[in-house]
């Protein structure tokens, strides 16, 4: 299936992915190019400002927001391998003066899976991924961007993320006991409430282990970074892989 169009895309790579998980940024860039998109990575980008705002310092984040808008206002779409950052831009840039650029950036910022499903309208990426995969539904993507229906809401079942994965050759998507419980990362929550955060992370990893997953994937590397930290500390036999890396393991 051909993408619904060719767009000028500003690639936003969240700060912690830039610094610690460059392979996720590379996979996102490669995937979007394979999908015939005109992808640019503005070099003066830094961060969406969420780490500050989630800690209560949105006033200090304003200049960070403005830098984001300056970097991305010229594109048709801003695409990022993070549901949480995309949600933050859409939801919390409301404290800026709503100039044409701000409104456009807020409207045109997309999480990667959502962009592929809703804008490019590609539903089969011809992926080959012969592994048992557990999908961790990151909260801001799930409940904020509505990438799927959260288990609390009485509504029809769907998931833009799982729809993209389930067509992969060889993949086995495992069912979790708790399909969409928070992993306990929560940004600076992981620092201010370390005991609860770590316990939540262990419980989430255990759910995947109990159900025989080889790989935990998610739309957010931040959740995966937290779970990876727990997996390594406890020597568990399971890997974390960002969804962009799975979606890029294709033969388009």
């Amino acid at each position: 299936m051909k993408p619904a169009g060719k767009f000028k895309i500003g690639l936003f790579i969240p700060c912690y992915i830039d610094q610690f998980y460059p392979q996720v940024g590379i996979a996102t860039l490669e995937l979007l190019r394979k999908l015939d998109q005109d992808v640019h990575y503005p070099l003066k980008q830094t961060c969406c400002g969420q780490p500050l705002a989630n800690s209560g310092a949105e006033d200090d984040a304003k200049e960070v927001y403005k830098n984001f808008v300056r970097n991305f206002s010229e594109f048709d779409y801003v695409v990022t391998p993070s549901g949480s950052c995309a949600y933050h831009v859409k939801e919390h840039y409301d404290i800026l003066e709503q100039s044409e650029d701000v409104v456009k950036v807020r409207r045109c910022t997309y999480e990667l899976c959502e962009f592929i499903a809703d804008v490019l309208k590609v539903d089969d990426l011809k992926i080959n991924y012969p592994h048992r995969v557990g999908v961790h539904q990151s909260c801001h993507g799930l409940r904020g961007l509505k990438l799927g229906n959260p288990s609390e809401l009485i509504s029809a079942s769907y998931s833009k993320v799982i729809s993209l994965l389930e067509k992969a050759d060889g993949i086995e998507l495992i069912k979790l006991d708790r399909e969409d419980e928070c992993c306990g990362f929560g940004g600076t929550f992981s620092i201010f409430e370390p005991a609860v955060s770590a316990r939540m992370g262990r419980d989430r990893v255990d759910d995947h282990l109990r159900n025989n997953a080889e790989v935990i994937t998610a739309t957010d590397m931040s959740c995966l970074m937290h779970m990876e930290g727990i997996i390594k500390r406890n020597n568990k036999n399971i890997k974390v892989v960002h969804i962009a890396e799975i979606l890029n393991s294709n033969s388009l």
Partner: protein, 457 residues
């Protein structure tokens, strides 16, 4: 005073008990899901309940005076209390005027909020909580750890031990039926000797002056029927306009709270018994101030179902007492900081959330709980709370993130530092991330560095 994170860490020291607490409440959450799914218009019902509550908050004064007029016509005596202190004194005056000594109570978080039990005990009045969970924590001289399941932090072994001490049950007995029976015998005697029965109020209906109390054990009825004087206490936000609106809420309340289609008893109290007295006390205690606050007023829509606690991944693992406020969990987190007009209290609670938003999704009246937690965090920093170190780190980060060159340099420095600094220094006690987690491995290049070399094609 300790913070939520310290109290949570203490609760988490017993991992098996935490697993049990988490799993027990998760079962309640699953029951809620099934009960909600059995009502196909569930989400519409939530929307309707939310709109009704918004209407109520938009005309609180009008509806309350309409309620007072109709309740008075029914023969009730309506009292108003501006704060906890006045509320406690009004209750004491009623009790004194009847020379009453034995009071039985059922289903009231408001009396917990106002500290009524201790106030009355200090004035020589014996007030007994008659609902099983409440009686258990009263015996233990503890606050509730959940608003619907007040003793959910305790296991049957704990209850067996407690009842052995307080009620003389067999040592080591843990059979729930045996223990419940012992409580029943004990409470029956309290009911028979009660002079005044006191209850909370779930809904007060403006058009006919009725108060409605939803219970499972039937103790509100038992008390009201056995004591000559009945007192119903309500916060000003409990009002609903008409009888026809009640079902919107009763259809949501029990399903969302415990997964039951409806509470076992939905008691309507309208007129005093023959030769009896019916008092209704309407309490403000900070609610008017909240009503005037655009950011936080929606919390007044709460119908106290407790579903936000059952779904909260933090609450299930930190326990209700970790919040240190009468109402724990997500709703407690947004009520506590502004619970006393003119002050900001419980400043540790807004940080005790991963902002997963599940609370807002289960809320039957659609309170944007996570949005209010986010706003509270902004307010705390804006008003200069939070440690100097935390505020300094935030200020510096804001400065660095706003300057691309500084960001690039800082990022590189952090990556180099993580590579060359010895492990024991990186994993020192101040690195709370590293207490139970590894930091990510450091790559040779950042994405930006890679892109500069390879990104153009």
């Amino acid at each position: 005073m300790t913070s939520h994170s310290e109290r949570a860490a203490a609760f988490l020291k017993d991992p098996d008990r935490v697993s049990w607490h988490d799993e027990t409440l998760w079962i309640v959450r699953k029951k809620r899901d099934r009960a909600a799914a059995s009502v196909k218009e569930w989400e519409n019902l939530r929307e309707k309940a939310s709109k009704l509550k918004e209407y109520v908050l938009s005309d609180l004064a009008g509806l309350l005076t309409e309620f007072e007029r109709n309740a008075t016509l029914n023969g009730a005596v309506v009292h108003w209390a501006a704060d906890a202190d006045e509320f406690n004194r009004v209750v004491l005056e009623i009790i004194k005027s009847k020379n009453a000594r034995n009071i039985v109570k059922s289903k009231s978080m408001l009396t917990e909020e106002c500290g009524l039990n201790h106030f009355l005990q200090d004035h020589g009045v014996d007030i007994v909580d008659t609902d099983l969970g409440e009686r258990i924590i009263q015996f233990r001289n503890e606050p509730p750890s959940h608003i619907v399941l007040p003793a959910i932090h305790l296991k049957k072994e704990d209850i067996g031990e407690l009842f052995h001490l307080k009620l003389g049950t067999d040592r080591g007995a843990t059979d729930p039926q045996y223990l419940t029976r012992a409580a029943r015998v004990h409470l029956r005697e309290k009911f028979l000797n009660a002079h005044v029965a006191l209850t909370g109020v779930n809904f007060a209906i403006a058009e006919n002056g009725t108060v409605v109390v939803c219970t499972n054990e039937g103790n509100a009825d038992m008390g009201v029927h056995s004591a000559p004087v009945q007192i119903h206490c309500m916060g000003i936000e409990k009002i609903i306009p008409k009888m026809e609106h009640l079902a919107v809420f009763t259809r949501l309340l029990a399903r969302n709270a415990t997964g039951q289609p409806v509470t076992t008893y939905t008691s309507h109290y309208r007129t005093p018994k023959e030769n009896g007295e019916l008092h209704i006390i309407i309490v403000d205690n900070g609610r008017t101030e909240r009503l005037a606050s655009i950011d936080y007023r929606d919390a007044l829509k709460c119908i106290r179902c407790g579903a936000c606690m059952n779904t909260c991944p933090v609450y299930r693992r930190s326990g209700g007492h970790s919040y240190g406020f009468t109402i724990p969990g997500p709703i407690g987190t947004i009520l506590a900081p502004h619970s006393v007009p003119g002050k900001i209290l419980y400043k540790d609670l807004p940080a005790a959330s991963s902002l997963c938003m599940s609370c807002s999704n289960v809320c039957p009246v659609k309170i944007g709980i996570h949005e209010q937690i986010y706003k509270l965090r902004q307010e705390l920093i804006r008003k200069g709370y939070g440690s100097f170190v935390k505020r300094a780190i935030l200020k510096i980060s804001g400065f660095v993130f706003a300057k691309p060159v500084l960001y690039d340099i800082s990022g590189k420095m952090v990556r180099i530092a993580l590579k060359i600094v010895p492990r024991f220094l990186i994993y020192s006690r101040v690195n709370t991330w590293g207490l139970e987690r590894e930091l990510p491995a450091v790559p040779t290049q950042s994405f930006k560095e890679w892109y500069r070399q390879n990104g153009s094609n």
